[in-house]
């Protein structure tokens, strides 16, 4: 505050407050172009199997966004997130077995995700950090046990083949169509996650994460905020799981076990907790990396190198890939500024 308040008191009383500085149209255009290229790239580059993998990234991305809301923004560490994907996947599967179409499946996924989300969220309200992680881990195990012991309904450990869905003239067993079908919910989830950041609800979450004391001082209902975050994350995961089942065409309990939950967590951390872009980078990483190692004929190396990468990121770049990019960008900008100043 070396300049002093009054020197910078620009707005005279009664004068309208200046609007929030707007993002320049150019940067919006650049962003839009980048997104269009990224979205259009997979169908142009890939075909067949790899397009399915790209569609899986879209499904995992939605789940990662959900965990980003719960952990990245609200600070609640859940190790049952993949279980909620499983809830969505198996709800859709069971309904499709009974002949219900896509709208009924999606409606059921929403309801079941909300109900199971509430069942986990309400009793764990007072927990946080490691204790919450442990309890949600137990929930995940319970869910896996349920799946393997309801073979008649879910196919048990053998897994279950999920019938392709047909939306309009798009059949999800065709790679390109699977990708296009996945694109719509992925876009909606992304928009919702971005929009959430501009709402009071989204800000409440950040404050609950950073200081419950400050949250109380401005009248934030902490418990309610945590429950809403949990429900939102469960719904994201539920739809993601349903989408995954449709794209992959086959589901088994192993898809939704503790490891899957940990990978989702890795995606959030690697990308940069608290960032929508980060969630997508993280999701792309955790889906593509194992595939790449398999492609190179070294599938066993993935856990090793993947673990090393995670450790490096966690230790050296605490705010993940997005944080790293932001820091490099700021440094470059600063250098540019100093360069022009010297030149002038």
């Amino acid at each position: 505050m070396s300049a002093g308040v009054s020197d910078r008191m620009t707005a005279a009383p009664g004068q309208a407050a200046p609007a929030r500085p707007r993002k320049s149209t150019r940067s919006v255009a650049v962003r839009t172009a980048v997104i269009v290229v990224l979205v259009a790239a997979p169908p142009l580059i890939f075909s067949g199997y790899w397009l399915f993998v790209a569609a899986q990234v879209l499904a995992f991305g939605i789940a990662t966004l959900g965990l980003e809301i719960l952990y990245g923004r609200t600070g609640q560490l859940s190790l049952a997130h993949a279980s909620f994907m499983g809830v969505g996947a198996y709800t859709g599967y069971v309904l499709s077995q009974h002949g219900y179409g896509v709208p009924a499946q999606l409606g059921a996924v929403l309801v079941v995700a909300l109900v199971t989300g509430a069942i986990v969220a309400v009793p764990t309200l007072r927990l946080s950090g490691l204790r919450l992680a442990l309890v949600t881990l137990a929930v995940g195990e319970l869910f896996a046990w349920l799946l393997t012991n309801t073979t008649g309904l879910t196919g048990g450990t053998q897994g279950a083949a999920v019938a392709p869905v047909v939306i309009g003239s798009l059949d999800s067993s065709v790679p390109l169509y699977a990708y296009l079908i996945a694109l719509v919910p992925a876009a909606l989830a992304t928009l919702l996650a971005v929009h959430l950041g501009r709402t009071q609800l989204g800000r409440r979450m950040l404050l609950v994460r950073d200081s419950e004391t400050a949250a109380r001082s401005v009248g934030v209902a902490i418990a309610r905020t945590k429950i809403i975050a949990f429900l939102l994350s469960a719904v994201f995961a539920g739809f993601a799981g349903w989408l995954y089942s449709v794209v992959a065409g086959f589901i088994s309990p192993a898809d939704f076990n503790l490891f899957a939950s940990v990978y989702l967590f890795v995606a959030v951390i690697l990308g940069g907790a608290g960032s929508v872009v980060g969630a997508w980078l993280g999701a792309a990483y955790v889906v593509f990396m194992p595939q790449l190692f398999t492609l190179m004929g070294q599938p066993n190396l993935y856990p090793l190198i993947g673990g090393a990468i995670l450790a490096v990121v966690a230790l050296l770049i605490p705010d993940g890939m997005v944080g790293l990019a932001r820091r490099l960008l700021t440094r470059a900008q600063r250098r540019r500024v100093t360069a022009t100043e010297v030149a002038a």
Binding site: V5, R8, A11, Q200, R203, S217, G274, D319
Partner: protein, 275 residues
């Protein structure tokens, strides 16, 4: 901040005059230690009230008790007609009482603007589902909140820093961000715990003039814990002097600073340790 919010948008503002806070027989005990012991005093409604006293006098504890952050061991606190009793912090906030902290509590990695916007929680907000899906309503609330936040940031000279991350700011500015978070909803009772700590001389003077202006535009009971005698004299119309958890004296700044017990308990200490 002139007329940013309509009265209907300010919970607690409709009951005409800012309320008096009456403290009666208040004790706050931590273990076997009384941080406040049998304190009876009043913080007159609509005034700027200074709370002074040496370190450990119980100033922050008094704010904690009033704002519901610490349970009362004994005694009562009333806000206007209303006995605060065991009212939750949320209920007190709804009644128009908002506080800041001696140690700033901010979202370090978020922008200044976001940190101030959370303060609008007290204003009528659309329910969560509407915030997500009833876009026109959400956008209207957002516009109102942004205008209020930018107005208070400009007032505090932080308008240009709105988009910066809090952890990039110097310490003094961070404290002002917290003050902005408190002020943004135009509360009728404002509790600030050493808001000028860490500011330089001119920064302190500027903050005082901003507080005076806020108080003039939006009448409130404004309680400020402060060590700086000159600041208290220029800012406050009523002063409460505490020492060792008890009231030394209270009254106008002239009365309080003229009191020999204050001079001994308070100035003695300050003179011992010039900071």
């Amino acid at each position: 901040m002139t007329a940013t919010l309509t009265p209907a948008e300010r919970p607690g503002a409709d009951d005409a005059a800012p309320p008096t806070i009456a403290v009666t027989g208040l004790s706050v005990r931590y273990g076997g230690f009384y941080a406040i012991k049998d304190l009876t005093t009043a913080l007159p409604g609509g005034e700027i009230v200074g709370v002074i006293g040496p370190n450990g006098a119980g100033k922050s504890t008094l704010l904690n008790a009033i704002s519901g952050f610490t349970p009362l061991t004994e005694g009562t606190i009333t806000l206007g007609e209303r006995d605060l009793g065991t009212a939750s912090t949320a209920q007190r906030v709804r009644a128009g009482l908002v506080r800041g902290f001696q140690t700033v509590r901010l979202m370090e990695r978020e922008s200044v603007l976001t940190n101030v916007l959370v303060g609008t929680q007290r204003l009528p907000q659309p329910d969560p589902v509407s915030q997500l899906f009833a876009l026109p309503r959400q956008w209207r609330a957002r516009r109102r909140d942004l205008a209020a936040a930018m107005a208070v940031l400009d007032l505090l000279g932080l308008g240009a820093d709105a988009e910066r991350r809090v952890d990039e700011l110097p310490f003094a500015s961070r404290r002002l961000v917290e003050v902005a978070r408190v002020l943004v909803s135009e509360p009728s009772v404002i509790l600030l715990d050493e808001p000028a700590a860490g500011l330089d001389r001119s920064g302190r003077r500027d903050l005082a003039s901003v507080l005076v202006r806020v108080h003039r535009d939006h009448p409130s009971t404004l309680v400020v814990v402060e060590h700086d005698v000159d600041l208290v004299k220029s800012l406050c119309s009523h002063v409460i002097a505490l020492a060792s958890g008890a009231l030394v004296c209270s009254g106008t700044p002239a009365e309080v600073f003229g009191d020999p017990r204050v001079q001994q308990a308070y100035f003695g200490r300050i003179l011992d340790a010039p900071a």
